[in-house]
Amino acid sequence: MTDKLLSMEKLSIGCVAPPGGSVVNKTGAWRTLIPVFKQEDCIGCRACELVCPEGCVFGNPKEKKFTFDPDYCKGCGMCATECPVDDIDMVREEK
């Protein structure tokens, strides 16, 4: 059945797609601002990880180190807004 489904290259009747479309569609391309995880004052509270609507912030609370996956981060800034110790900056991304 998979050969009849929507892929990166081809459409299918009814635009029926296999699972995993949100992995294939790299929403990082939508981003204007990019987070900078400073890793200076992190207290390991996991707020950034928990509020990320894309589920693309991850890290280790014991080591107090968090980062994000730039392929999917849309740059919404919720992690930076919610960080209780202002350890995340949002900066304009230039390519």
């Binding site: 059945m1 009849k4 489904l5 929507l6 459409l11 299918s12 009747i13 009814g14 635009c15 029926v16 797609a17 296999p18 699972p19 479309g21 569609n25």
Partner: protein, 399 residues
């Protein structure tokens, strides 16, 4: 297998014809003048005469959503609605067309609010003209019944895979008792075998219908709806011919040409009004007038080639509509003009909105339209026929 003619109310007859299509899921919400169709279908299911799931929903949006989901699992799905109900479905209907799901629905044509009216015109169906739903229009209850079988047959054809809608004029057909032959079950089963979906929702093989597309693919995804709709023209002709072979009735087809072969004046209309028009055509023919009717039975896809062939010999044309595009002209009139213009034919076309919200059009109204078309007057704007100016208020308050 002799089929028996019975005296049946339109909506009841349609419900029994739909049951003979063996839909597996029906979801509907009551709205005048459609209600008798879904009411009778729920009775048929409750009585155990049809093995289907009848889903009671909270709105027409819910009804359309249920049949979308049901069809995506590979079930044959049906709903019926009218007017505001159809418009409440409209967001879902665009999705159904884009997901290429062959659901069938009936629209008991009724005016849109406001002002509130429960009576017939075609503005409800015409409001969703562009979404990729095949639209049939019945002249009488026999056609309304038979077109449901043809609708499923065409919609489910793998060359098409689009939703299809049978339009029957609210009250004028739904509530009128006419001699009707209900399609025989054995013949129906022969004509319409069970639906086999190409792709369907399946927990073992998960898939997303109508998935996200980037701008590099979306336009082609939309174009495929148009392509299938255009391809359905041939399929409608083929499946209508097959219907006639099995049942012996010419209920399908793209258009009906009534006395139009040698006609100098051709009227164009759809729906039950064509019964009145045919009577007027007969009278005028008796009086030596070369008048004919081209009845649009399939409105979407627009049957360009058939319409052009039927009209090409006319000296003047009058389109008689139960709809209008406020701020522009008619709905069907510009389509007729486009068909002629693209073929390089400069036949004068007059457009008349004869009825919104159930206004009656007596035979003398049709005769007046024929006279106006034949008078040589050049119509400058689409005309709201016999508009009662005497009841209008001051149109610019305080002016």
């Amino acid at each position: 297998m002799a089929e028996k003619q019975e005296i049946l109310e339109g909506a009841m007859a349609v419900a029994h014809a739909v049951a003979r299509c063996r839909p597996e899921v029906i979801a509907a919400y009551p709205i005048t003048p459609q209600t008798h169709i879904s009411e009778e279908l729920s009775q048929i299911v409750a009585d155990g005469e049809l093995d289907a799931e009848f889903v009671k929903v909270e709105s027409e949006f819910g009804a359309a959503s249920v049949i979308l989901g049901a069809s995506a699992t590979g079930a044959r799905a049906y709903t019926a609605t009218s007017s505001q109900g159809l418009l409440l479905m409209s967001e879902v209907l665009w999705n159904i067309a884009g997901m290429r799901l062959p659901v069938v629905l009936a629209c008991a044509n009724r005016s849109l609010s406001a002002p509130l009216s429960i009576w017939c015109d075609h503005q409800d169906a015409e409001a969703i003209r562009d979404c990729g739903i095949i639209q049939f229009y019945a002249e009488d209850n026999q056609e309304a019944c038979d077109q449901h079988l043809i609708a499923f047959k065409v919609a489910e054809d793998r060359r098409v895979l689009l939703p299809a809608m049978v339009n029957l004029d609210g009250f004028l057909l739904t509530h009128v008792f006419e001699p009707t032959i209900l399609p025989d079950q054995e013949l129906s089963d022969r004509y319409l075998p069970p639906y086999e979906a190409v792709l369907k929702l399946d927990v073992e093989n998960p898939a997303t219908f109508g998935a996200f597309t980037e701008p590099d693919k979306c336009m082609e995804g939309r174009w495929m709806i148009h392509d299938a709709c255009m391809r359905s023209i041939g399929v409608i002709e083929e499946m209508s011919a097959e219907f006639e072979k099995v049942f012996g009735r010419p209920s399908g087809g793209l258009i009906e040409e009534y006395q139009s072969d040698d006609a100098e004046t051709i009227l164009i209309a759809k729906g039950s009004l064509c019964g009145t028009i045919k009577d007027v055509v007969d009278d005028l023919r008796d009086a030596g007038h070369k008048v004919g009717l081209v009845r649009i039975k399939t409105y979407r896809p627009w049957p360009t080639a058939a319409v052009l062939k039927a009209l090409s010999g006319a000296k003047q044309i009058a389109v008689i509509e139960r709809g209008a595009s406020f701020g522009a002209g008619g709905i069907m009139t510009p389509e007729v003009k486009e068909t002629l213009y693209d073929a390089g034919l400069a036949i004068p076309v007059h457009g008349f909105c004869v009825q919104l919200g159930g206004r009656e059009v007596p035979p003398d109204g049709i005769r007046e339209i024929v006279e106006r078309a034949e008078s040589g007057e050049k119509q400058k704007v689409y005309e709201y026929f016999r508009l009662r100016k005497e009841i209008l208020p001051e149109l610019v308050p305080g002016a």
